[in-house]
Symmetry: D4
Subunit: 228 residues, 8 copies
């Protein structure tokens, strides 16, 4: 169900990861490769945590395009892989459309390489079939900044919601008041690296206070040599 | 009341400052930290000068996210703080929605860290509840330029007005023909630093003319050593 | 009359140059100052060539904001100057609105410093009064790239046409098949500096050919020392 | 026929290449000149491969603007050239409009130099005449990044679809399951240079495996000296 | 005394602040104006804390160059001001050279606006007179990045030590084991703004621990509203 | 022993990792935080692989500066930690100098945060004590690009060799003809992320060839779902 | 005579302007063309004001390289032009070397397009012949930023002094206490455009003061319309 | 023989092309891949034209590093290939050193991928063996801008001359007054793409003049359709 605000509802979402392949990754210029890989991993893991089904596919994985990046199945081991017979638009494949339909969900969240083809085509096709579509722009990559801006303008004008990894994570997570909050914290720290270092600094500082109070804990010595 | 032109009317505005916390500030990459802090301070002060109510909130301020930046209460001492119980979207908190509704105003001006979550979510939620929403993009911050552009595209497409600190200041101020004009000049000079130096140069140059006319004033010696 | 294509018609245009003052120029960061001044001059001159009326105004020109840049009256000597009494939005001034209305034209072309205030406010106000509005983004300037993008998004979403100096020049000029074609060529060369050097190279190369044919002309020696 | 998704259909497309001249190329600043030339060549060749008619024109090609770049006729030898008599908007020329109409196709794909004039004007004019219009932003060029963004915003807001070379190629190609797939691979490798080197690396690596298996092929020695 | 390592010794240093004037500040393009002003203030204050004498001068302060920025005397109230009679190189002024010589120190630390003139000239002149010279490149400013690089190359090649504000601060401070350590921490936090926010986050986090331990302190409530 | 070419000899090297702390990491602006952390980890691991002793230290690790980043001890578990009593220059600490001297090695390789203080000071001090010094500029970080350039210029002019992580790795590794070559390949792939994806693509492509030859191996299915 | 400080002495300088041609200007990418032309003009004019002889030359000016830019002879009408017979290094031409030698001056100041050839070659050649050489890096231009940095490194390492236009102007001018001070102010304002606007603002502000004092002058009305 | 000026003498040069392989090319980030390939091709061709011997080598060309780029042998078909047995520094290979020595030339010109390893190591090694060394920085590539700057600083400080492709071409060519001048023009146009378009414009413009003079030539119709 699409919310009135247009924010994502995990129970109505299905994640499409299209052509995140090691060869295609080489042409990406609008985002640093390590950043794109971390964003992809976090997105896949967030789907796993949220019970969002993941459908993935690859374009000619036996040739220069290369195999799917390991981030897909490492983080979403239950993802469904749909093979293609040369179709450029994954949505042209009956089995792919069926896989989406069978989830019963009406909001597709799409990421892929390269954005102008592998995200734009299935996004516009899904939109034409009546789905709500969110394109995760920084879990996707393309061959120039200008190409990215063109893809964003085209999709947005057609009605695709442009979003980012943190947006998807936060809307699926919805609240910190849940049992797996620490898992989500790990995802946010991965996407925003300064946050990870901040957590380390604060933990150490708090351990110091405990120590001064006569309550020295295990925490303090974590990762720190004896002489520190 | 929303004006026909869509320009802000101070008497109908309420300012929401969401999660401007010292820890979250560390992840901001789309604007320099000092610039963001000056913009936040100027926005809060402008609300104070205009009689615009300010509502603020923080996300888990006892942990790594850190306390609210002092700029909020230093400049808007009467701001209303609403605590949260883990909700990511401040608009999910009944007390927050009530606080906004009780101002009787229908235009909410929103800034926050990080933009893709703390501005996007309450902005879209308020829009769904019938408010006019202006998002102040440079009194907010997020983890990459690409993430900022995604947030802007998403909000703008949904109907949120994208604005900047100078836009808000000028629309609330409306005219230079008011008793507190000097206070407003100070805010503009803070947001646009070249303007501050310009004022100093012009003041000194005018003092020189007065001096040559036999009307030496106090102004000339301000901040200048005896030997100058 | 607005054309079906939305392209400018010189006979229906009026040009508004708002607050292009030497002091305000100092805060401009989204375009190099010399480039902005050349664009402003070319725009004013193009209005003069096209019979497009020019209306200009300044904000507190006796203080730090400084006088209007000389480019305005140097290129559009018949521009009408409208004084203000502190109003930030020029459109709040009755005499300004009257001046526009009395031209009988329904398309206003606006440029100003700073964009987020001096272009955004009169543009949205004129739009609310039923005018077609084109904002010339690179004959305007503001305090950061982010602020420019915010102004563009806001105006565009409201219905203002975003344009540039070359766009305005070419639509007003309409054809090269006119007596003052050389004057227009000068404007294009000013806005696009590489074009000016290209013209020099080609002229010299053609003179060389003439020389080889026994038809040495004056052209060849233009600007070149005897020994060349 | 326009597809429901808005993706291009080669059988309904006509390509307009407007004023890609050697002199005008000198003013281009929003894309590197070699990249623009490769994109232009790939686009022309893709039209040839797809049976998409190409119509081209030049503005005053005998003066500083210079002749059409050779990429046009080298790749689309059957392109139709329409001369102009000074008209800035190619669409003002009856013969140009007729040429488009006589193709019987309703989707025009446009690229040109400079974008703000030579793409914007015919695009908006064709749109007013009822055509679907796609503007290929990176097979076009203009005098600044700001000018490009203004052109994109203006066209997009009016209803022109903003696209890029890879988008056009992929939509016209539609599938890898076609006899001329290798020709298309060459075009993709030209537009995305990292892809070309990747193909070379993979081919060599595969040849090595074959060699170890006792099946040494010609492939291995391609381009490699005897001592390698 | 110059140390063997070439690191600064506060007891042998004298600080020269040359032409940091509000008008000249307008031409600075190689560093943001607010950053330059903070660096200047921190440098002046560090001299004050270290007992390093400060000598300052201005070029035609009654005209467009404007008065000295207040940061100089606000932070180094005992700075000696030496007037000039049009000399561009401050070192050409006998009183300036005398002022330096009378400090008895042999290492001059120089900053100024604009770098290529107001830092380069006195630095090379002082070097020729036998002084050791450190040029503080980010407490100085000039009209382009290219001009800065040229100034750095020229001075460095001649034997001037190129340094930055943090370098000077840390070498003058020498150790954290001193009574005024907190004052120095304030200077570092000013120059490196992320450090200031970090201190706030850590302090709050430590207060939380104390609270949990039953030792709630004043610290926790600093700057935080009742409801937090 | 220093080689004639000045290239590093692992048997004469000792690695100093100075103040790589989670809090100080927040101020780094001249290199992305994730890139710096990967470079630090690779450098520490390379020392471990090469038998190069590692000496590390931290500045006030109990306060905002935070604990050492885990990358240090995770990769160089035998690193020697030397505590400080407030000294800013680690070389001022007798135990630190002793630790270096006792390795018997005369080439110190230094990295640290922030470069202008924690790398510059010990590097210049070690140089004054007769050591050969290499500063690893991208395993270090500082607060601005300008500050980095100043640090590089200062150290280089004094005689410190400026180097990078790949330079150090390759000189210590010396040849691919060694038993632990795969470990080194992993380090190179970490520092240059495109290389990692390339390895994946090539491995998959080779597996495909084997398959076609009737020699299907385990390799092919690694990380790839059944349907691929 | 070379000064001890290495600062320029106008009476010992000769200016070489090498291959500043309209065609070659098109390949310049390391500095904006208008900025380069203004710098060239200011440098030539400064030589004229200082009595510094100017020697200029062009490479094959009859072909694509194009004629010398008019800035050379417009500002230094007495410049000596030396023709070449295909020599790439102007210093290979006997007449060129003689022209320099006959000035009797021993410091050559060189600028040219493109830097890596037309500045590097004569600079290194003149150095080998015993001259002191200053290369004016921003009155020269080349085809990429990387190429510029390579040229600077090479020349600097060989002993050429790297300088900029403002450096040359200020050293030749030496003092503001000279009859032609206003002419020099004009050159500085041309090179640093913000300075020009500043002068206008200050002049207007001073005129306002005079007016308030009952001493209205001509100055006030300069360039300002009646209604202002 | 090394010239007094340090400019290259083709008769004393030998060109080393080290590890320009299709796989290694993927990690290059400090220069666009197409630009690097064009520079490599031009350098190899210039050696061919100048009679400069070329020696090339590759690192593990059977694995992910990939085969040598075709630009090497396409342009320098007589290049000598020296295989390696895992040595990282090509200079460690006796056959490589012998190949250089046997040319009898004492100036080595080096380019390679990646710069910090494949250029730095043989350059410093050759220098230690008494050769003069020029490193061609933009015919080489590495993994970040910072890594490039570190490599340049290190080599330059050690005595390697830093140069660029245009510098090498121009010094080897020496004069335009030679039979193969057109071949050299082609190389310059390849390295500086704007120059190529300029030549086309000028040729067309000259053809137009001839036409007007009654001397229509073949040139005019080159590449231009009938209707132009």
């Amino acid at each position: 169900m699409t919310t009135a605000s247009g924010l994502l509802d995990a129970s109505d979402s299905v994640l499409l990861l299209v052509d995140h392949q090691s060869g295609l990754l080489q042409v990406v210029q609008d985002i640093a490769q390590p950043e794109l890989r971390v964003n992809l991993a976090s997105l896949a893991k967030a789907a796993e945590l949220s019970g969002v089904p993941v459908i993935t596919t690859a374009s000619v994985p036996d040739g220069p395009n290369g195999p799917l990046l390991p981030e897909v199945f490492d983080n979403a081991p239950n993802a469904l892989y749909v093979a293609r017979q040369g179709e450029i638009d994954a949505w042209d494949v009956q089995a792919f459309r069926d896989a989406v339909r069978e989830t019963g969900r009406r909001t597709v969240v799409v990421a892929g390489i390269i954005t102008n083809v592998c995200v734009v085509e299935p996004s516009l096709s899904a939109l034409a079939d009546g789905y709500t579509v969110h394109a995760v722009i920084n879990a996707s990559g393309t061959y120039s900044d200008g190409a990215q801006r063109a893809a964003v303008d085209r999709m947005s004008r057609a009605g695709v919601v442009i979003t980012d990894v943190e947006g998807v994570l936060s809307e699926w997570q919805h609240t910190w008041n849940r049992p797996d909050a620490l898992d989500w914290a790990g995802l946010h720290a991965a996407v925003m690296p300064a946050y990870a270092a901040l957590i380390q600094s604060v933990a150490r500082a708090q351990a110091e206070v405990l120590d001064a109070e006569g309550a020295r804990t295990e925490l303090k010595h974590a990762r720190q040599p004896a002489g520190a």
